[in-house]
């Protein structure tokens, strides 16, 4: 698998480490415990397109949001996580 890093270009998956669902948002610290439980533990885990976080640790050290199909592994695109959607 190759991931199109917006800075480095197409790179082998071995240069990246995977975190998971990129749609999760860390709750505000005033939020109830239940919100943190959902954030830390519950996942949609879809079969199909998935926005997910990858860290290009052996490259430009950027966190990326990669849109990848979990059934076909096709990658629709990738952007820097720090850039607003």
């Amino acid at each position: 698998m190759r991931i199109p890093c917006p800075y480095c270009g197409s790179r082998d998956v071995q240069e990246f480490s995977y975190l998971g669902d990129a749609n999760l948002r860390r709750p505000d610290h005033e939020a109830p415990e239940a919100a943190f439980h959902d954030y830390v533990y519950l996942r949609d885990n879809p079969a199909g397109p998935h926005r997910e976080l990858w860290y290009h640790g052996s490259g430009c050290r950027n966190w990326l949001v990669v849109t990848r199909n979990t059934v076909t592994h096709d990658i629709a695109g990738a952007r820097f996580a720090k850039e607003p959607t």
């Binding site: 800075y7 052996s58 430009c60 720090k82």
Partner: protein, 192 residues
């Protein structure tokens, strides 16, 4: 440190001229310069006015008067200056940037190697997972990548082609083992 890693001279195949030449690039002051998202342009301008080189916004290397700027990430550069004293070089950069961006001395963190020879491409292909073909990775291209499980920064300095690799100090021994093994079939000549 280099001579401790690999005996100077010929390794692997001995007959014919060596397919790969390697030499350490010593006496470099090296620093990383990192800019916050909002100040990338300002930092780039400062670096340009100081070194007369426009810092690349992509993975590339620009060189002038013994100073090289290698793009290693958005708003992040590796700066290499030959014949400069590292602490002074870092201090100088710090004041020039004056808090605009972060400057970190890496002069002792990296072993910089120069690789050349007719078989350098075939040798690097054994570890580098990038396309180094001239049409894709011409002179001036750079990449932060991984070779033999070792993170390296790699850039091409001329069309020979000649490459430079910055290897983390603690991994230098293992890297040289990999290089010697991978170049053995072509013959490896270590220069100093």
């Amino acid at each position: 440190m280099f001579d401790k890693l690999l005996e100077p001279g010929r390794h692997g195949l001995v007959d014919g001229r060596a397919g790969v030449l390697v030499r350490p690039v010593e006496g470099l002051a090296i620093a990383t310069v990192t800019a916050g998202a909002k100040r990338i342009a300002a930092v780039a301008d400062t670096l340009e006015s100081r070194f007369g080189i426009k810092p690349p916004a992509r993975p590339a290397c620009r060189e002038r008067d013994g100073v090289s700027l290698v793009g290693t990430g958005p708003g992040r550069w590796l700066v290499l200056a030959s014949g400069q004293e590292s602490a002074g070089f870092e201090a100088g950069l710090c004041c020039a940037l004056d808090g605009l961006g972060a400057v970190t001395d890496q002069s002792d963190a990296l072993l910089v190697l120069e690789l050349a020879g007719p078989d350098v491409g075939r040798t690097l292909a054994k570890g580098v997972t990038l396309d180094l073909h001239a049409s894709v990775f011409p002179t001036g291209s750079a990449a932060v990548t991984v070779v033999n499980h070792i993170g390296v920064t790699l850039w091409q300095t001329d069309d020979a082609p000649t490459y430079r690799l910055a290897v983390p100090r603690s991994y230098a021994g293992s890297f040289m083992d990999w290089l010697a093994g991978s170049a053995a079939e072509f013959g490896l000549e270590t220069l100093s």
